[in-house]
Amino acid sequence: MKINEIADQLKASVSLKREFKEALSDCMKRDDATEESILTQIELEALLEHNDLSRAQKCQELRWRLHKLRYPKLAEAEQRFQQAKKKLCLPESIHINPSDFFEKKEIKIEIKSRSQKEFKEQINKLKTIQNEIDDLFV
């Protein structure tokens, strides 16, 4: 498979290579498509020729493109969640994550505080976003 060569070229880890192969082969079977046509669909050529991206970045981008093709609705929800989260401009010490694959309709908020002062700031930040948080519930 061509994807093996590409994964080697990008120095992808063994598990990532397996992930690429599985997503690609699932899409081929689902769509009765050839490897060639799937790789064209995800615009692989252009990605590989991209000068501003490192090998690791290309790997991550390839992973995302295959994931998006394999799980379009899930990928759309993930993208929406990330965009909504970005809009909240959270400090690095506050993490908001959905449940795995959005299976539960809940979000997990994790705060790392090193002082009472920092904790108060974080709580205040959370208060300011309380009306915008609805977009995070997929």
């Binding site: 699932d26 899409c27 079977k29 689902r30 799980y71 379009p72 609705k73 899930l74 929800a77 795995d100 694959f101 959005f102 299976e103 539960k104 309709k105 997929v138």
Partner: protein
């Protein structure tokens, strides 16, 4: 109309201790053309297949008539976060020849033979003991580890069990099938203690994924016969499969069903999405390479099973439920193995727990008893 493919094994293996059992006698008489081997223990046949890559397929060609020494009535396993009603299942036999690509038994059973627990006197004795407490109510499913009626023409087992359940006021027997093999049940005195259930799907899914089962028309004709014979019937829109034309196809399925069936004599309709153990993916790829159902948007649920991404399931269930309620607002619908989130989104309410859902179902069954 296309009926289910009749079961015809290459060989029957009989454990010597159940040689004289009435079910054994019936099976041997009805399959008199099939070679028979009598053995002290059928396990040697099963073990001979272990490690064989074709064990699943080869095992289905052997019918084992065995003396079951364990319990016949087993509780459904509890699955945290996913709600379903409480019931017991009847361990009258295991495995099935109908070859649904998604059949969970392929990953779940460690015995590939089609096995019948023919010591039914022990089975009835155990049930009699368990049903003795009149304050308890027993929902007993016979379609958990086999199709309830796929073997009926050979075994006559349900024909024996339905009148037995008719004698017990605190129990209901549920059959679940993808066949039309009800003729031998129509004249029985069931006293409303048996619900005959059909798992329904669209013609496309039946043709592509439920390979040896009855087609939709055949199943519905059988459901009509059962309803006309006074049985309560149930439907299982399960497993729903997401594909391009699913809306149109499932809506037509519902319309067709209730153009034949009186919704007022339907005990319940369950709704459930395709779900499978992750190890099933490679089994399906190997045994049914043409099947595409494993390439949908299935994610890993908190119970470890692959199932459609939640918003997708909720959307499907909500629409299916609304089409059913358009037919009759009184239809009792419930979700099979679903999270409270999906219950809320799709049906607009969440049973407090499994016991609550069970209570609702008991009330429904009792209210429809004649």
């Amino acid at each position: 109309m296309k009926p289910a493919v009749a079961y015809l094994p290459d060989e029957i293996v009989v454990e010597e201790s159940v040689k004289q059992a009435p079910v054994t006698q019936r099976v041997l008489e009805r399959l008199s053309q099939v070679p028979v081997r009598f053995l002290p223990d059928s396990n040697q046949v099963r073990f001979a297949l272990s490690g064989d890559k074709q064990a699943q397929t080869k095992g289905k060609k052997v019918l084992a008539l065995v003396n079951h020494k364990g319990k016949f009535l087993k509780p459904r396993a509890d699955v945290p976060h996913y709600r379903c009603y409480n019931y017991h299942y009847l361990y009258w036999g295991t495995n099935c020849h109908l070859e649904c690509t998604y059949c969970i038994l392929q990953a779940f059973l460690n015995n590939p033979l089609i096995t019948l627990h023919v010591n039914t006197e022990d089975l009835k004795k155990e049930l009699t003991e368990r049903f003795q407490d009149p304050s308890s109510f027993w929902r007993v499913s016979s379609g958990e580890v086999a199709d309830s009626l796929a073997m009926e023409p050979i075994t006559g087992l349900m024909e024996e069990l339905i009148p037995f359940f008719a004698q017990h006021d605190n129990a209901v027997l549920e059959l679940k099938t993808k066949t039309s093999l009800v003729d031998s049940l129509l004249k029985l005195d069931h006293r409303g203690r048996t619900v005959v259930g059909w798992s329904l799907n669209t013609p496309k899914i039946i043709q592509e994924e439920e390979l040896k089962t009855s087609d939709l028309d055949d199943r519905l004709a059988a459901a009509k016969k059962a309803q006309d014979a006074g049985y309560l019937i149930g439907f299982h829109l399960d497993p729903l499969v997401y594909y391009h034309e699913w809306e149109q196809d499932y809506q037509q399925l519902i319309q067709k069903t209730f153009s034949l069936i009186d919704p007022n004599r339907v005990a319940w309709v369950s709704i459930g999405g395709l779900r499978f153990l992750p190890e099933m993916k490679s089994i399906i790829q190997q045994r049914f390479p043409k099947s595409k159902i494993i390439y949908g948007e299935q994610i890993r649920g908190t119970d470890g099973k692959s199932r459609y991404f939640r918003p997708l399931r909720a959307e499907m269930f909500k629409k299916i439920n609304s089409w059913l309620k358009e037919i009759s607002p009184n239809l009792f619908t419930y979700l099979c193995m679903e999270t409270p989130e999906v219950w809320e989104e799709a049906l607009g309410f969440v049973p407090e727990n499994d016991a609550h859902l069970s209570q609702l179902m008991d009330e429904r069954a009792l209210s429809l008893r004649s």
